[in-house]
């Protein structure tokens, strides 16, 4: 698309125009970059490190998609979004996909016209309190001051939970996780509530994580997953199967260590062969190269590796797999077959 210099100048400053008719996949390929919406900073899920490099679990999904589509895991533009801006950013086309621990709900899927392509983390809303309060159950929180991230489903869950249990509380709405931490630590709120994974990530960032406990109650289901716009199924398929490829790779034992060998030539396991493109034409069906899944997995390893590297038990965040284990291990991860 030729443009005048004037608009060219504006492009450098800002603009990324694409033909309206073209699908997101073509746009991304033409642009050579994937615009991926993430949080403004939640350690473990998506946060810039000291060098300004984005790191985290959601970031891993973005990189995998970029690797699958463009062959380069670093060809991602990370767009930080808040609870308020994330949906408009996606709806208006500013970002191609949103990987910002967003809960899959009916109204978001149907009313806001988004397509959730899968679940990359099964979560639930929990409560964190200082140990010194001596609280052991959420039912004892009558009259407590609760910090909540506004614009999230947690806000609504909280209202429902306290209303059904007939407990009074004082909500303190906070825009970002970063602002919630000091308020909670200084004692301006007794309780901090968000997704259990977010609580773990937040707690890990504290000076003395041991002084705080996460209460046993999980008051909601929070399936978190990447989402794309309604009405562009090709692009939705690309993101969905990139995520599925990561999960399937773990199930099939494909890791970043052995993928070079496995992907070099067809092996014994036909599903691995199809996944890695040494057999069949799955990549071409998606409109991608044959080694799309191989690239996606090589970007940061399979699902398990990304999990362990960013939020697993050996990281400061220390989440166990729990519901997010493979179905063979008693978890909920169960991807449709690559066939």
């Amino acid at each position: 698309m030729k443009k005048s210099v004037f608009f060219g100048a504006m492009t450098v400053a800002a603009l990324a125009a694409g033909a309206a008719a073209a699908g997101t996949l073509d746009d991304v390929k033409a642009r050579g970059k994937l615009n991926c919406g993430v949080t403004t900073g939640l350690v473990g899920f998506a946060a810039p490190d000291a060098n300004g490099e984005w790191q985290g679990f959601d970031v891993g999904v973005c990189r995998a998609v970029a690797a699958a589509v463009l062959g380069d895991p670093s060809a991602v533009e990370f767009v930080p979004t808040t609870g308020k801006t994330r949906f408009t950013a996606l709806a208006s086309g500013e970002i191609d996909m949103l990987a910002r621990n967003t809960t899959w709900t009916f109204s978001r899927d149907v009313d806001l016209k988004f397509e959730f392509v899968g679940v990359n983390y099964y979560d639930g809303q929990g409560f964190m309190v200082p140990k010194a309060l001596g609280v052991s159950s959420a039912k004892e929180l009558d009259g407590a001051t609760v910090c909540i991230q506004t614009g999230t489903t947690t806000e609504l869950n909280l209202a429902d939970y306290f209303r059904t249990n007939n407990i009074s509380y004082e909500p303190v709405p906070i825009e970002t996780n970063a602002e919630a931490q000091p308020l909670y630590l200084e004692g301006a709120c007794d309780v901090y509530t968000t997704d259990a994974s977010g609580l773990a990530a937040t707690r890990a960032a504290f000076e003395n994580p041991g002084d705080h406990v996460v209460l046993p109650e999980i008051i909601s289901k929070e399936p978190l997953g990447p989402l794309v716009r309604h009405g562009d199924s090709e692009w939705g398929d690309v993101v969905r199967w990139s995520l599925n490829a990561l999960i399937a790779a773990e199930e099939l034992g494909v890791t970043s260590a052995n993928i070079a060998d496995m992907g070099a030539a067809a092996g014994d396991n036909p599903e691995i062969n199809r996944l890695l493109g040494t057999e069949g034409t799955l990549g071409a069906m998606l409109g991608l190269s044959a080694d799309w899944a191989k690239n996606a997995i090589m970007a940061g390893g399979n699902y398990g590796e990304i999990f362990e590297k960013n939020i697993g038990e050996n990281t400061p965040i220390g989440l166990s797999r729990g519901l997010n284990a493979q179905w063979t291990d008693g978890g909920l991860l169960y991807v449709p077959p690559f066939r």
Partner: protein
């Protein structure tokens, strides 16, 4: 070369539309109108196309649906089952509350500082100058954030009031100053028939009656003075008119004070001013006070010393010079910028979102927008609200300006 007195040549040419001053303004206005309509049509068609592509529509139905979220500070009845519309009303009331309180404190501090800046005392003068410059030249958002952060970090939290080895205690057992806000004793009426609004309405009615009573008394005193030359001493009557019915009503209705008390996680009872409310009010007050101080100073300096001297030569006492000569003239200079500062406070109160105060930007433009995803509708409503407020304030200002305008003859 034609001369100016030549009549315009007859006949119509296209260039006449631009070159002839009789038609030129019509041409330009026509072009402007077309351009405006074209711009609106363009934006509107884009909007429609975008909405159609996204499968969305413009609808205000969400306003009558349950909001689903709780609001901590509500001046009217509100639960999470109330509608989004009601949530917006709660937010509007919170905005007005913070704006009115901040305007009051900003005026008080501003006048105080403005007068002190004119003081002969060098140290006070300079100190006030430093205050004004520091607060005027740093963004109000930073002040709001600093004050909130310091408020939360420095003041003791309720947990420090707890237990036998509490490190903090209530002031006089009446007030609790915590990092979560201030708790004050709350007056209420114990008598059964006077609980709720009725008691307060009675008090307000009494105060209005006392006001008219006191005025009547002053009038009759003035009439006596006109007639006899002596003004009867009435101040104890005035005091009685103001206070006797009030105290009597309070006793009859059983005025009692509800004291804040530490129960469970928080103080309960009493009036609770939230930390976000206090931080926002305080920051807006001291920031705007710096501007008001400058207005006050300019207003007083604008009155030439000749006025004071002329008044003094007429034999007026210093107090009366201030009241009758200087202030009426200075107010003419001070009030217009003062009102626009009030407008600024109202607009700046939208920064409440930075400290989580639930004003209309927090409810309608914040949580409702987030939960319903109705960005265009909510932002339009939000703008309409602020527009109504500021247009009313400017209307008030125009009325005032007309009433104090120098009557030129």
């Amino acid at each position: 070369m034609t001369t100016l007195s030549d009549p315009p040549k007859g006949g119509f040419r296209v260039s006449i539309l631009i070159n002839d001053t009789r038609y030129r303004s019509y041409t330009f206005q026509f072009i402007a109108l077309i351009a405006l309509i074209a711009a609106f049509a363009y934006l509107g068609s884009n909007l429609l196309a975008n909405l159609r592509a996204a499968g969305l529509n413009i609808s205000y139905k969400f306003l009558s649906e349950p909001a689903g979220y709780d609001i901590n500070q509500r001046l009217i009845e509100y639960t999470s089952q109330s509608t989004h519309f009601r949530a917006a009303i709660v937010g509007i009331l919170n905005t007005l509350l913070v704006a009115v309180v901040a305007c009051f404190f900003a005026t008080v501090i501003g006048i105080f500082v403005g007068v002190l800046r004119l003081s002969n005392n060098w140290l006070v003068n300079k100190l006030m100058g430093v205050y004004v410059e520091i607060f005027r030249n740093v963004p109000v958002l930073i002040w709001i954030l600093i004050i909130m952060a310091v408020f939360v970090a420095v003041l003791p939290q309720p947990r420090e009031f707890r237990g036998d080895d509490a490190t903090a205690s209530m002031f006089l057992d009446l007030f609790a100053f915590t990092g979560r806000g201030f708790y004050f004793p709350r007056p209420y009426f114990a008598a059964e028939w006077a609980t709720g609004a009725i008691g307060w309405l009675t008090i307000i009615a009494l105060l209005i009656a006392s006001f008219f009573g006191a005025r009547a008394l002053a009038k009759s005193a003035a009439a006596t003075q006109e007639a006899t030359g002596d003004r009867p001493t009435t101040w104890y009557f005035t005091l009685a008119i103001w206070f006797v019915p009030l105290i009597a009503a309070c006793v009859i209705m059983g005025l009692t004070w509800e004291l804040p008390e530490l129960k469970g996680f928080n103080f309960r009872g009493g009036i609770y001013a939230r930390n976000s409310f206090i931080a926002l009010t305080f920051a807006l007050s001291i920031y705007t006070a710096a501007f008001i101080a400058e207005n006050v100073r300019a207003g007083i300096l604008a009155i030439s010393t000749g006025q004071t001297e002329a008044a003094a030569s007429l034999g007026l006492r210093p107090g009366r010079i201030m009241n009758l000569v200087i202030l009426p003239q200075a107010l003419r200079v001070i009030i217009p910028p003062l009102i626009s500062q009030y407008l600024n406070i109202t607009k700046n109160s939208s920064l409440a979102i930075a400290v989580g105060y639930m004003d209309v930007t927090g409810t309608l433009g914040g949580i409702t927008l987030n939960q319903t995803g109705r960005a265009i509708e909510t932002v339009l409503l939000l703008m309409a609200f602020y527009l109504i407020i500021s247009l009313s304030i400017s209307a008030v200002m125009n009325v005032y300006n007309n009433s104090v305008k120098l009557k030129e003859r």
